[in-house]
Amino acid sequence: MNKRPTKPTGEGAGFNRRNVLIGGAGVAGLGALGIGGSFLFYSPARLVERIVRTHLPGLDITEEDMARFVADVIAADTDTSGTEWIALRLLGPYANSPPFRWMAPGFISRRLKNYERRVMNEFMMGSDFFDTYAQGNPKVTYAGLYSVYEAPCADPLPRFSDETEMVKKS
């Protein structure tokens, strides 16, 4: 099994700024809401961390690892548009509020669910999640975003019958 390399951390703040600018018409409204403080909408970093912690109650991960994961995810995201980011950030604080989910337009709630799934996939595959949290041990270590080209054959899930045969023979 190849060791998964650690990826360089990204610059979350720059990404945030760029995408908010891309957001165009939404910027003015966002700015108005922003005056109210961060409880009205999340920064991308807070949104990503919130998604992970909401989905994994009791998660035990170092601050450094979480910060690195959040930065990596944001830096690697090249296809979430500026307007989508605005919607995600606005919805983030209320994501688990059923009334809000029911009221949100379908495409927005779908987008949020898709984004949550994407973040969770990155976390599960980029850490020792399947050896720890999935087995009941809350202490998780983040290694770096999963990349088959940087670390092929590192998917923790496949099982190989010839290895089973070798175990039986030995």
Binding site: H55, K113, R117, M120, D155, P158, R159, F160, S161, D162
Partner: protein, 485 residues
């Protein structure tokens, strides 16, 4: 290996292309050719090693989408092939299934589509040979059609969802037949389910570059790279040679035998430039219909398999229903997005549902003008036979997956639903020269020293992946050409 910078004046055979069809033809042709034979292989692209391909992030520096023009109103065709040495063997995913015997006799058995001029039995020995060359992994148990040899490699490990499907469909659900090896071969490591087979990070799937250079290492063979075949020189009903373009210059080489193995888009336009007119040349272009989905499971952790496309379900593949609706093949995947629901992370089965399509005269590839470089393609709708079944695709998937504890099923975004990844029908085989371009051995009906290989010769493409059949039929053609008169 003789990669030449300049072709000689004449050869016994000129072979256009170096993908599956051309290479397997060459392999068998050399077994019949005399020791002093000279063969020239003209390849349009460059020779990119696996490391080059990884570095480029694509198997070729020429992106295939720039080599033809989609004239359909939706411009939604996403065909993938490789312009480069080894052709499609670089970018394929390694699915190597045989066609079902009924696929060859659709018209006779079910009154739809067209019959092939050959039977399953005609190419069964060639299927075995191609499977041996590729060191295929496949099921040990009896499948739906006869086999005279077992698969060279044992099957991949099935994930749990596939094991449940196997229990429910003992005679219709199988481990995928694949050129992604389940064991290390002499030249390749076993597949470890990276899930990016179009550019395998560990060079595991069979490719001509990594496992089948034998025909090209033969001293009788010369390879000319970056040589784009433009036309065949046909005089008096005989192919005299090939006209090609290289580094902006036009050249011609003469040959006693010409084998056209570009692909199903380029073969017909090279023939069009050559004056080989026929009302059906380039027409009856078709593919298949593919829809990608996921079934959310309740209580079944999945993804323990050892290769990315792990199962093939034939429960709705063949039967009298084909009079009414197309054959259905469902492929299960060992990887897809994990779920974000607590404790259900792995409880999902990604799958592809594939429907066969039937050829229609309206769909075509052609050159608007003979001097044009880019073929124009029109294939914007499925045959009525297939189109009416698309609305039932979800029902088909639900029925096939019903033995599993499915709590939800949904389609995923599918960029290539119409057309699928495979191209058929543009240089069709048949028995009647009025309704086909090639005979049963892929030899041109009128120009008897011209062989046109590849899936363009398929009269009715199945939804099953065509590669193994491409190889088998090409080897049969070479044996026919090479056999003593």
């Amino acid at each position: 290996m003789r990669v030449v910078e300049k072709a000689a004046r004449s050869y016994d055979a000129a072979i256009i292309g170096s993908g599956f069809a051309s290479t397997f033809f060459l392999y068998r042709y050399l077994k019949h050719a005399p020791p002093n034979a000279r063969v020239l292989v003209l390849e349009r692209g460059k020779w990119h090693t696996h490391a080059d391909q990884i570095e480029m992030g694509h198997p070729s520096e020429i992106h295939e989408s720039t080599t033809w023009v989609d004239k359909g109103p939706k411009q939604n065709l996403r065909w993938k092939f490789t312009i480069g040495f080894g052709g499609g063997s670089n970018c394929w995913w390694g699915n190597a299934v045989r066609l079902h015997p009924s696929d060859f006799k659709l018209k006779t058995k079910y009154g739809v589509g067209l019959d092939w001029p050959i039977d399953y039995d005609d190419i069964e020995p060639y299927y075995c040979e191609a499977e041996e060359v590729m060191q295929l992994s496949g099921p040990r148990e009896r499948m739906l059609w006869p086999r005279s040899r077992p698969f060279p490699q044992p099957p991949h490990t099935l994930p749990l969802a596939d094991r449940l499907l196997k229990e429910a469909y003992p005679e219709h659900h199988f481990a995928a037949a694949t050129a992604r090896p389940s064991r290390d071969t002499a030249t390749r490591p076993k597949c470890c389910s990276n899930g990016v087979c179009h550019l395998c990070p560990i060079d595991s799937k069979f490719s001509i570059l990594n496992s089948f250079m034998e025909p090209y290492e033969d001293a009788r063979v010369e390879i000319l790279l970056t040589a784009e075949a433009r036309a065949i020189d046909v005089q008096g009903g005989q192919a005299r040679g090939v006209m090609f373009r290289r580094n902006g210059q036009e050249y011609e080489v003469s040959a006693d035998l010409v084998v056209l193995g570009a692909n199903a888009l380029f073969n017909p336009v090279i023939m069009q430039r050559s004056g080989l007119d026929h009302p059906l040349l380039g027409r009856r272009l078709h593919g298949s219909y593919s829809e990608y989905g996921e079934a959310l499971l309740d209580g079944v952790d999945n993804f323990q398999g050892s290769s990315i496309i792990c199962g093939m379900n034939y429960a709705k593949y063949d039967g009298d229903f084909r009079r009414e609706h197309p054959s259905v093949l469902l492929e299960t995947w060992n990887r897809g997005a994990l779920r974000a629901e607590h404790g259900k992370w792995r409880q999902v089965v990604p799958f592809t549902l594939k429907l066969e399509d039937l050829p229609q005269d309206r769909s075509h590839v052609r050159l608007a003008h003979p001097d044009d470089d880019l073929p124009e393609v029109l294939y914007d709708e499925l045959s009525p036979y297939t189109a009416k079944a698309v609305n039932r695709a979800l029902q088909f998937a639900e029925e096939i997956l019903s033995p599993l504890p499915v709590e939800g099923l949904r389609w995923l975004p599918s960029p290539d639903t119409i057309g699928g990844p495979h191209i058929y029908g543009t240089t069709m085989m048949g028995t009647d020269p009025a309704t086909s371009i090639l005979d049963a051995n892929q030899i041109h009906h009128q120009v008897r020293n011209l062989v046109v290989v590849g899936s363009g010769s398929f009269p009715a493409g199945s939804q099953s992946n065509p590669t193994l059949t491409i190889c088998a039929v090409a080897m049969k053609a070479a044996d026919k050409i090479g056999a003593p008169a």
